[in-house]
Amino acid sequence: MISKVLIANRGEIAVRIIRSCRELNIPAVAIYSEADRTAPHVLMADEATCIGPPPSIDSYLNVDHILEAARSTKADAIHPGYGFLAENAAFAQAVLDAGITWVGPDPQTLELMGDKVSARRLAQESGAPIIPGGVEPTADIKAAEAIASEVGYPILIKAAGGGGGKGMRIVVNPNELPPAFKRARSESASTFADERVYVEKVIEQPHHVEIQVFADRAGNVVSFGERECSVQRRYQKIIEETPSPFITPEVKEELSKLAVIIATACGYTGAGTVEFLVDKNQRFYFLEMNTRLQVEHPITEMVTGFDLVAEQIQVASGKSLTFGQEDIRPRGHALECRIYAEDGFDNFTPSTGRVLELTTPGGVGIRLDHGIREGLEITPHYDPILGKLCTWGRTRREAINRMTRALEELRIVGVRTTVPFCMAVMSHPVFKQGDYCTSFIADYGDDLQTWAANNKDSLDEIAALGAALFSTAEKSKSPDRPDARLSNSAWLRIGREEQISR
């Protein structure tokens, strides 16, 4: 049994985990860097311990401090959330060595599936196709040329040690290969200290589709169905939905089956995600397995009714699943929009500042997970995710209309967010038809900009009126610029409201 959980994370995911701990009646310990003393996860937790200065490397990635925090608060389990140390096998091992329960798969499984080569090999042995060419990375141009001519151009070159799009390039014909390979190899070496790269077939109009799996120690493994995650910017997801509007029931069935086989083969426990690419002809390829809770897990919770974090804690405490595959019956349609502190119309430039106002949406079919509050400073130290807004509808159309309504209700003033960008996506005909692939943002970026500009123009006058009334009211209050004509009841009313408003 678990009697106290330390959450080795921050932000919305730490808040998310605290909620499930509360519902299970298990006390939760927050850790925080000096920059996060007043963050919501600290306010909501039962206990909170400072584990270092703002830089992640000194705090949220500081294994010794985190273990010391667990010892001093007598936490007997650690939930890593996602990111930071969630997929770090050495950390998981250190947690186990300290006699603490690790809410996640075994360190051996983290290691096995964290290595691209061994993960792909396991997938292949499990019967999952992998992208042609991408079995072993290489630093040798001759080997690269051989793979390329075997799988056919265009090909993709990708760093072996990396992710997030770094060192990635597409090569359309053989002449371009040697220089592109050379540059990718050196970028890969400098960024990831590993000069090997993958040479892969380019998948046309790819869809990113993933399967949520769940396993206990007794060997029960189930699939919670798929999520379509093809709205991406810089190879990072921004909008997800379930069910996928693209894949056929047959493909869905097969991906679920493969994901369960893979999870079984690697001895998985807890919540995991098997990622696939699906091309325009519904041909699919294993991509990788994420050996942790996924950012977008709430949409699966919305359609299935399960609390995946609570189930993670139950499994970690040694319990077997209390449900079988037949109990997982998705209903309706769910969407997630990630709320990043980024300007979606300015190349997703990060934004920092103080949250001056926060008003959250409510009512039917809404779920909001966030880690901010009014008055909180958004610093550049950490991942820019502020929260996730999810909607559920009986139909995809209802979920989209609800998302538009909820995005309109969500007021975050003080930092720029991806809210208006997500509103533009919701109104785009290609998205509405469910007919998009991973190049959606690249292909339709101009449309989305235009939508933003159209809506902006019509509101210029209102904004100008607001500013003019505000400035005139301010001047009429200021003693050094008394404007007799404007010091009248209308302006005084504003002043009075202000005095009493807090």
């Binding site: 990060p350 130290h381 123009d457 509101l459 006058e461 100008a464 009126l465 003019a468 505000f470 408003s501």
Partner: protein, 169 residues
């Protein structure tokens, strides 16, 4: 009172007066019914001919920032005096021969490669600005001599903050 509002590239004329104790604004040839009420330090309710708008309004460096329907508008307001000063070109009078290098994004200064007095050529690296895990090299936009450095390693800077001055010879 006449105000000129600049919103992005649009220029709007507003004529503000008071009628029977209520503010009246003529904008683009029409004069809507207006009711502005403050809700909180930054938040206002504005009814324009009964149309309901929930705005955030706050002063900014060069005017006002208005948040409306999840977008931020930068509004520059100028009255007759402001416009006269601008026409006379007085605003440009104080401009010196310095190039101001400003922060293109908010972030942390993790390295500075130049010192006051250094000569730089356009394209030389000046400093590294780290934002949300990405390192951004900031290069000299022009050749010249480094003047004041407004930052130190470890500083957090806002978007648009002045980082380094370059004096053009």
């Amino acid at each position: 009172m006449i105000l000129q509002a600049t919103v992005a590239d649009r220029v709007l004329q507003l004529n503000i007066s008071v009628d029977d104790g209520k503010p009246r604004v003529e904008i683009e040839g029409h004069q809507p019914q207006l009711d502005l009420v403050k809700l909180s330090p930054y938040s206002y309710s504005l009814l324009i001919d009964g149309q309901s708008h929930h705005l955030s309004i706050r002063p900014s460096r060069d005017g006002y920032m208005v948040d409306l329907r999840r977008r931020t508008y930068h509004i520059c307001l100028q009255d007759e005096l402001d416009l006269t000063i601008e026409k006379m070109g007085l605003k440009d009078a104080g401009r010196d021969r310095s190039g101001h290098v400003t922060a293109p994004i908010p972030g942390l200064i993790t390295a500075i490669s130049v010192r006051k007095g250094d000569k730089v050529v356009a394209g030389d690296q000046l400093l590294v600005l780290e934002a949300m895990k990405m390192e951004n090299e900031i290069a000299a936009p022009m050749s010249g001599t480094i003047g004041a450095l407004h930052i130190a390693t470890g500083d957090t800077v806002e978007k648009g903050a002045r980082l380094v001055d370059i004096h053009v010879q």
